[in-house]
Every structure is written in structure tokens, then in C-alpha cells.
């Protein structure tokens, strides 16, 4: 196991050699990810790993891809999507144009879920879904909209639990163990690399979703990200976080009102 000191050396060197700042990441999780990578890539010890990270740019990219957690699913937490479907989208529907930002979208499963909700609410034609991640590899997967077929059964159950009434298979084509989601869903998506640690606001949005990303950040970095979201939200826009994340105790809290008991906040000022 990597010790605390080694982890700090890695964070420092990564910043010094590659300009990438992991200093605001939660240590407990980061440590597990580093341990896992050292094991997966068969390094003899931490020193060998560190030297590779320092000197090999290609390996460093691989490290960034592997160190960030990319576990996601379609209609994750179906009840959350039910609230979006029934309570939030009808309010956004009155706008001439609706902008969404999925920050830390990983392989895009939640972006496609949102596109399905919008299609069913007949809003997709006037929506734009920006989806960003720090990791270019996962964005490639997201762009393709191709997900493992073995996951579809549980996605289909999630979809129904979220209030979906259609036959879920209507949204994808199955082939060789993969499910490809239709381009009618992805045509309103824009994918791009964005780092919540160092990049700024790039547009104004009506709904920002950042679910299970802030858990990997310490309080200071969470504060930065929340400020960034606040700067990027239109008045009366919504911010949606993961089921165990909160804006409580952050500096933006006073300007927001929680929607029911959901992890959705409405910007009021």
C-alpha cells in the first residue's frame, strides 16, 4: 500500500512535471486508485511507478484515465430521474431554449438518460446537452453511445422505475453484446474536455448535473466547483448532485433552495 508521504510526493510531481493538480482530491479514495493502478500495471514498487509517471507522457495520460472513477449507469437513482421528469422538466419547458451541463459525465450513460427524458417530454429539439469530463477516453465512449448489452436489463428496470412508459429497446440497437443508442438522442449532445480543478465557466445553463464527482474532492475543491456551477447557472436554474452530496455548509448555499428532499437545488438569487 502507498503511504501518505508517497501519495503527496506523487501529487507534487504530477503537478511539477505535467501541470495536473490532484492536490484537492480526497486522499482516501485517491490512495486506493493509486494502489489499484500499481497492481494492475504490475509495478515492482511505488518508486518504479513514480518514475514512469514522471518521464512517460503517454503513461501519465493513462494514469489520469485510470485514477478517475468512471463507474456510472443509466437512470442511476431512478427516483431522481422521476423528479426531473415530473417536477423539473415541466418548468424548464416554458423556455425557448434549454441548456444542460453534465459535469464529469464519464462514459455518458446519464447524458443519454437525460436525452431520453427530453425526447419523451418533447423538449429535445430545443435542448442542448453539454457533457464534459477530464478524461478523453470516456468521452470517446460517450460520443459513440455504445454500452454493454449485459447492463441493459438493469437500465431498463431503472428506466421504468423513473416513470418511463415506452419499451426501452426502442432506444437502442443490439449487436454483438453491445447496445448502440440512436443518433436521434445524441444529435443534441456536445462533448468536450473540462477540468473542474482548473477550467472556468464556458456558458450559462438551466440545469447542471454533477453526480458523484464532488465526493472525490476535498472541501476546498468542492467549494471551487460549486462556485463554478453557481457562475454557470442562469437565475432560477437548477443544480443536481449525487444522493450523498450536498451544498450545505458551502458559500453558495444561501442563494439556493432545495427541491423537496432531492439533491436538486434551485438558484433563487
Amino acid at each position: 500500500m502507498v503511504n501518505d508521504r508517497q501519495l503527496e510526493v506523487l501529487i507534487n510531481d504530477v503537478y511539477e512535471y505535467h501541470g495536473f493538480d490532484f492536490s484537492g482530491y480526497s486522499r482516501a479514495s485517491l490512495k486506493r486508485r493509486v494502489d489499484r493502478l500499481i497492481q494492475l500495471d504490475n509495478f515492482a514498487d511505488f518508486t518504479a511507478f513514480l518514475s514512469k509517471v514522471r518521464t512517460d507522457g503517454t503513461y501519465f495520460k493513462h494514469m489520469v484515465e485510470e485514477i478517475t472513477v468512471n463507474v456510472t449507469e443509466m437512470f442511476r437513482d431512478p427516483h431522481f430521474y422521476k423528479v426531473l421528469r415530473e417536477d423539473i422538466l415541466p418548468l424548464l419547458a416554458t423556455k425557448p431554449f434549454i441548456r444542460f451541463w453534465h459535469a464529469g459525465c464519464s462514459t455518458g450513460e446519464e447524458v443519454y438518460s437525460m436525452a431520453i427524458l427530453l425526447k419523451e417530454a418533447n423538449l429535445l429539439h430545443k435542448s442542448l446537452l453539454y457533457a464534459t469530463d477530464i478524461n478523453p477516453l470516456v468521452l470517446d465512449t460517450a460520443k459513440k453511445g455504445i454500452f454493454p448489452l449485459r447492463m441493459i436489463k438493469s437500465y431498463s428496470e431503472n428506466y421504468m422505475a423513473s416513470g418511463g412508459k415506452k419499451d426501452f429497446s426502442h432506444y437502442y440497437t443490439a449487436n454483438y453484446g453491445l447496445a448502440k443508442f440512436g443518433e436521434d438522442l445524441s444529435e443534441k449532445m456536445v462533448f468536450s474536455i473540462h477540468n473542474l480543478v482548473s477550467d472556468g465557466s464556458f456558458n450559462e445553463f438551466d440545469l447542471i448535473l454533477c453526480r458523484n464527482v464532488l465526493i472525490y474532492f476535498d472541501k476546498d475543491l468542492q467549494e471551487r466547483a460549486l462556485q463554478l456551477f453557481d457562475d454557470s447557472l442562469s437565475k432560477l436554474g437548477y443544480l443536481a448532485l449525487g444522493t450523498k452530496e450536498t451544498i450545505k455548509f458551502s458559500s453558495i448555499q444561501d442563494r439556493y433552495e432545495q427541491v423537496q428532499k432531492e439533491k436538486i437545488w434551485k438558484k433563487t438569487k
Binding site: 501518505d4 479514495s29 431512478p78 449525487g242 452530496e245
Partner: protein, 193 residues
């Protein structure tokens, strides 16, 4: 950019379990004394769902306050903490809990190994890991790490477990400090000061 490490100054007891472990908790929790000297963490394999039934059930069975675990929840003695479903529960060095949705470990999230290992790193000799009934081998490796870090290892006696597989695998791969049946387990936890 080294963070100041505040030394962790209280004891931590983590109870891990799978199938058949809830019944043990239901027997033990109502008869637990106040736990002012330590924090009690419960990591059970559970169906992944958003509901908080397990927390509610546990809170009903004990007079010890149950703190809801969210990201970066402050971790304090005197409280019970329950690992939320579909997240791994981790321990930061400054008495804070954090959550992680990375890959399942031993087909489980929360995984008992993950919490045992993470807590052992931070709390070392102040940590006691208790492994209960289950039909999975989660927890075995975590107990080894607890031992390496000079913590205390307790395993439910397989004969007293509804599902003996998990404690048996743990026994075969660990030298526990205590192997206890349910009544003894209650006495043990009540004796921690």
C-alpha cells in the same frame, strides 16, 4: 503540500456483515451501552436501493444516536454510522468520512474489505474490526490489514452464524484476537472503554 495529520484520538469499531448479520445486530444493538469512547461503524451488504430502511431499522433498535453518512461527514465518537448503499465507505486522516462509487469489490459496494483497509490505515491500533455472518469472502483481507496495523480482529463464531461461510473463510486466513458467539460479542462491545 503535505496536509497536517491530526492524530486520531478515539477508538473505532467497524462491524462488517452480509447474509444473516442483520439478525445479529438486531439482538446486540438494543442492549448496547452508550459508546462515548468510540465510534461504531456498520458496513452491511445490502441491496442497492436509494431507501434508508437499514438506517431507520438500526436507529429504532438503539438509543445510541445514528448519524446519516453523507460525503465528508464528520466522524466522531459516541455515534453509529451506517455505510450507505451503493457507495464504498472510506476514512480520511482528519476524522472525516468519504464515499466512493468505484468498482464493486467482492461483488459488493459497500465492501467490508474496503472500509476495513481504509480505517486500518488511519486508526491503526485504535481500530477493531468485527466480521459477522455471510455467504461471501468479503472482510477476510481487510481483517489481515487491520492486524498488520496492530488493530484488533474479532470474528463471529461460525457455529453461531446463520451463514458460516464468511466468518469461516476469515478464520482460516487470520489469527483473530477473539472468536465470539452473539452473547459474547455483546459483552465484548460493552466492555470497550
Amino acid at each position: 503540500m503535505e496536509k497536517n495529520k491530526i492524530s486520531s484520538s478515539f477508538k473505532v469499531v467497524i462491524i462488517g456483515g452480509s447474509a444473516g448479520s442483520l439478525e445479529v445486530l438486531m439482538k446486540v444493538l438494543p442492549r448496547l451501552n452508550r459508546i462515548s469512547a468510540f465510534a461504531l461503524v456498520i458496513v452491511l451488504h445490502r441491496k442497492n436501493s436509494e431507501d434508508s430502511t437499514l438506517e431507520d431499522l438500526i436507529a429504532l433498535k438503539t438509543t445510541i444516536p445514528v448519524k446519516e453518512v453523507e460525503d465528508k461527514t464528520a466522524f466522531l465518537p459516541g455515534f453509529i454510522y451506517v455505510a450507505p448503499s451503493d457507495y464504498h465507505l472510506l476514512f480520511e486522516s482528519h476524522n472525516q468520512l468519504s464515499l466512493d462509487t468505484s468498482e464493486k469489490v467482492n461483488y459488493s459496494r459497500p465492501s467490508i474489505d474496503v472500509s476495513f483497509e481504509s480505517a486500518a490505515e488511519v486508526y491503526g491500533p485504535l481500530l477493531t474490526g468485527i466480521l459477522l455472518s455471510g455467504a461471501n469472502s468479503d472482510g477476510t483481507h481487510g481483517l489481515q490489514v487491520i492486524k498488520q496495523q496492530s488493530g484488533t480482529v474479532v470474528i463471529q463464531h461460525p457455529d453461531s452464524a446463520e451463514m458460516p461461510y464468511m466468518p469461516r473463510v476469515a478464520l482460516e486466513n487470520n489469527s483473530p484476537d477473539f472468536v465470539l458467539n452473539v452473547e459474547e460479542l455483546l459483552g465484548y462491545i460493552n466492555s470497550i472503554e
